[in-house]
Symmetry: C2
Subunit: 114 residues, 2 copies
DNA sequence: CAGCATCCATGACGATACTG
DNA sequence: CAGTATCGTCATGGATGCTG
């Protein structure tokens, strides 16, 4: 099951809510899974698919494009045949990893005491 | 505009994906905004509505109930008239704040260099 | 004040098939 | 291999109105 942060469609302009806007970085389905898979180093498109079996190529592409546009991941096309594309976290993207880890950590604690 | 982490509706059982499951703590629309509003101390239902104008009472209730069930927030009913209910972060819930801050921080940096 | 009950609309996601 | 193209669906949230 994917995990996505849905954007609030309030009548107010989005700029009015920097918190929401920043959090939307990780808001797409499978986004955190992608970041998670990339935390140990570069991965290719098909490797990511293996890491996250339920994600469809369409959605994976969408997420990768978003993250690339945001500056979270870097896309590296090797001009080989067959084509090969590597994705890796940027420096800033890597900073998201500990934050996600922290949330997951709290999640585990919550489960244990629940 | 709300911000929600959408659950992956994969065919696999959710337990198969602890990452996704943990992240879903902050997955509801306006969830992070609620945690954010509570970070400085207890707030009442109507105060939260003022902090997050676009949220409807229905959704706010839903989020608070979820967070309460998860152990992230504590609900405190004062037996007064008119009724008054305070919400506050639990100790574990408070641990989410720095993690969210970290993500927001990265978000800002990404915007600046973009 | 602090909710709950309804109804409805939206759009993100899932599945499938095809291509340079 | 690494995507793109289509299409359908359903979960999730918005709006409104009512109540203890």
């Amino acid at each position: 099951m994917p995990l996505k942060i849905r954007k609030n469609k309030s009548p107010q302009p989005p700029e009015a809510c920097p918190l929401t806007e920043c959090m939307s970085i990780i808001g797409g389905a499978w986004t955190v899974n992608v970041i998670w898979s990339l935390r140990a180093g570069p991965r290719r498109f098909s490797e990511l698919r293996l890491d996250i079996p339920p994600v469809s190529p369409k959605v994976l592409t969408t997420r990768l494009r978003e993250l690339e546009a945001r500056g979270v991941v870097r896309r590296d096309v090797k001009p080989t045949s067959p084509p090969s594309v590597e994705y890796e976290l940027t420096e800033l993207g890597a900073e998201l990893v500990p934050a996600i880890e922290a949330i997951v950590d709290v999640g585990h604690k919550l489960k244990q005491q629940a």
